[in-house]
């Protein structure tokens, strides 16, 4: 006999509690001071050992014992292995095989296994399945790498289309149909200044002829077309010639009928930047010169802002520029007044850049508000530890805008594709035998005992 929760058996000694309470009634009896206690008849009272009290004690001991056993969940393994079965119900299970989703095939397999320890995924993560029919396909992919093997199970069996790398001991049951095409993009990063995106394109099983489209409200432009070799993910840095909300999506030309998960993503590219005139200095000019090549820049008294799309969240903020103004490093018109940026009012939005001359404060703000990046205007040294600062004097600054900002900004998305060959089904042996489970009997016994306890 095995137990699902054997740790609960440590509570079994608790069944002697009623016995102790019966033998030493003083422990349980409520103590009440009463001056005329001697007038209470002693002969009829007391916890003398009688049949009723013995019976009651036995029933109570049994109740506690049964309760512990119910939660410990005893069962006898007859043909069923003490395995954990993880069923990957990600969006990939929508893939059709013989015009039927492989999800159905997976459920059929689960029913054959007759296991109690089936786990699958929902929005919160892994959860135990009560009814196989209740399992539904998730709307997104699942990161199988995050699964940890629970210690109480001998073996872990994974049923999955295996669109991802998965590294766990145990049998794997691959639902993915042979000769099936799986093409997708992995969105990694983007640069609002460069108007560029960094994506990884992959194709599983076969070479794919793909087309990557950039779409906004008005236009629909092909930004890449070419062939991707099978099982060889390709990193692409693509310029996006569109402004505003841009949707990037992949279009497969040579096998259109296949299933493709929705790998499209949205990026906001602002149309132009607005920079306060008086913040111009020789360092800033260099920066602006770089910016101007990439994106139209406009000057304003309100600081450096992106003229459109603040509602989407991209932004570049200057901080600590007043100290530079005092040293007359940069100014344009003598009569202009200065509006320094209140660094604490910066809201974290996607793609926010902070340009600051106060490193320590900027670091604190970055950590607190989780900004993406900060530039240090004064320091000559290049600091590469997080939060990272890029010095405007370094030569790499120009490169940084494209290279660093694109690559150090990865997005969580589907992992690289790795194909797994289908493994043999280890469930063919003894799978018809039913496991012996005592749970129902125990609950029935518990109910009967409770009735007796109430009656006596």
């Amino acid at each position: 006999m095995s137990f699902l929760n054997p740790l609960l058996l440590y509570f079994l000694p608790a069944i002697i509690i009623p016995l102790i309470l019966n033998l030493f009634p003083g422990l349980s009896a409520k103590k009440i001071p009463f001056p005329l206690y001697f007038l209470i008849n002693k002969t009829k009272s007391g916890h003398g050992i009688n049949l009723r009290s013995i019976l009651k004690t036995i029933i109570r001991m049994l109740i506690i014992g049964t309760l512990i056993l119910i939660f410990a969940h005893p069962y006898i393994k007859t043909g069923q292995r003490d395995d954990m079965i993880i069923f990957d119900n990600s969006i990939y299970t929508r893939i059709l095989k013989n015009n039927v989703p492989i999800f159905n095939e997976g459920k059929k397999l689960l029913k054959q296994m007759r296991s109690k320890n089936i786990y699958t995924f929902n929005e919160k993560g892994l959860y135990p399945v009560k009814k196989i029919d209740d399992i539904q396909i998730m709307k997104n992919a699942i990161d199988l790498d995050l699964i940890r093997r629970p210690s109480q199970y001998n073996n872990v069996i994974l049923i999955s289309p295996f669109t991802q790398k998965f590294d766990i001991d145990g049998n794997m049951y691959d639902l993915f149909p042979e000769n099936f095409y799986n093409v997708g993009i992995i969105f990694k990063s983007y640069s609002i200044i460069e108007h560029s995106i960094n994506i990884c394109v992959y194709s599983q099983n076969k070479d794919a002829n793909i087309q990557i489209l950039a779409k906004n409200n008005t236009q629909d432009i092909n930004i890449f077309s070419g062939e991707i070799k099978k099982d060889q993910p390709v990193n692409l840095i693509l310029k996006i010639p569109l402004d505003g909300q841009v949707k990037i999506l992949v279009n497969v030309l040579n096998f259109k009928d296949s299933f493709f998960p929705d790998n499209s993503t949205s990026v906001y590219f602002p149309q132009k930047l607005v920079i306060n005139l008086r913040y111009k200095n020789k360092f800033l000019e260099k920066f602006i010169a770089v910016l101007s090549n990439k994106i139209p820049v406009e000057y304003s008294k309100k600081g450096l802002l992106i003229s459109k799309g603040n509602e989407m969240g991209s932004g570049i903020f200057f901080h600590g520029t007043t100290s530079l103004i005092k040293t007359k490093i940069f100014y344009e018109n003598e009569g202009d007044y200065i509006i320094p940026i209140n660094i604490r009012s910066i809201q974290k939005k996607e793609g926010t850049v902070l340009i600051s001359s106060y490193k320590n404060e900027a670091v604190a703000i970055m950590q607190k508000k989780r900004l993406d990046l900060a530039f240090d205007l004064e320091s000559n040294s290049k600091i590469l530890k997080e939060p990272e600062f890029i010095n405007m004097f370094t030569k790499t600054f120009d490169d940084f805008l494209v290279h660093y900002y694109c690559n150090s900004h990865p997005k969580e998305n589907l992992g690289p594709v790795k194909h797994y060959a289908p493994t043999s089904n280890s469930y063919t042996e003894n799978k018809k035998e039913k496991p012996k489970d005592y749970q129902k009997g125990l609950i029935l016994l518990f109910s009967i005992l409770m009735v007796f306890e109430l009656l006596i």
Binding site: G26, A29, K30, I32, F34, P35, L39, S45, G46
Partner: protein, 294 residues
């Protein structure tokens, strides 16, 4: 309840207490004039007898109607009225602290002791005070306003003692008190019957007028037992477990014990007055006034 609250509560009765008089039918000893009967003849209100007129007697005392009938001169003699010593014996044994809180028997006893003390002070008696348990500490009877406040403060400050020692306390009391007076015994009388009997014998030795007020709690009279282990508050080792309804037997035993106590008091001619903690205090005092006068 703290001392100030206690005294405030007493003050609320002060007006009603002015008219209460408690005096026995017994001849008592005293030093000054009061309302109690004295063994001496003097200038009281009650006519006692006539004696022949002697030279020098006050002419106002001559019984003229008797001269009319007998043609002899007689002088009227009156009973002397005296004050006396009052001893208020307060049982402060642990059994009195039932139930625990401000509505306990002990609180009731303290309250009664203070009220009766005020009544006796008002009728110019000397009031003394004697707690039963602990070290014998007899407050010598005294009268006057100063003594009154001293007495009330002493009662108000009184704390519950430990195990009651009725017999030894009575022995001490009898050895130290010789002037015949009134003794008020405020107790729940939860002592063995024999000890009670012997103790009262000691108390009765000087032929005092004894008024015993037995204080009971309403739960003791009409209990509702719950399951549990009932123990003696004075001795926690002695206990009895109650698992079923024991009320019937208890009431039988309670009545039997009360009967025994009543017989003892009847035999010793002691005024016995049981009250419970719900009793109206003023009604009780008027009852006591009526009863003691009989």
């Amino acid at each position: 309840m703290n001392e100030n609250d206690f005294i405030d509560q007493l003050n609320s009765y002060a007006h009603a207490l002015e008219k209460v008089k408690i005096s026995g039918n017994k001849i008592l000893h005293g030093l000054f004039s009061g309302i109690h009967k004295s063994s001496y003849l003097g200038f009281g209100a009650d006519f006692e007898d006539n004696r022949e007129y002697n030279y020098g007697d006050n002419l106002k005392l001559i019984n003229w109607p008797l001269w009319g009938r007998t043609e002899k001169l007689f002088v009227k003699r009156f009973k002397e009225e005296t004050n006396t010593d009052i001893y208020i014996i307060l049982d402060d044994s642990l059994s009195m602290l039932y139930p625990q809180g401000s509505l306990s028997k002990f609180h009731m006893a303290k309250y009664l002791a203070a009220l009766l003390g005020i009544v006796f002070f008002n009728q110019l008696d000397r009031v003394g005070f004697y707690p039963l348990s602990g070290d014998p500490a007899l407050l010598t009877p005294a009268r006057g306003e100063e003594a009154k406040y001293h007495f009330i403060n002493k009662v108000a400050k009184m704390k519950i003692g430990s195990k009651g020692r009725f017999l030894s306390a009575m022995e001490y009391f009898t050895a130290n008190v010789h002037r015949r007076g009134i003794i008020i015994l405020l107790s729940d009388l939860i002592y063995p019957i024999e000890e009670l009997n012997m103790g009262l014998n000691h108390l009765k030795f000087e032929d005092h007028l004894i008024i015993s007020i037995k204080i009971e709690h309403s739960f003791e009279i009409d209990p509702v037992f719950s399951k549990g282990s009932y123990f003696d508050p004075e001795n926690s080792v002695k206990k009895v477990s109650v698992s079923t309804q024991e009320k019937k037997d208890y009431l039988k035993n309670f009545e039997k014990r009360n009967k025994e106590i009543r017989e003892i008091f009847l035999e010793k001619e002691i005024i016995y007055h049981p009250i419970d903690t719900n009793t109206d205090i003023l009604k009780f005092l008027t009852d006591l006034q009526t009863r003691s006068a009989l």
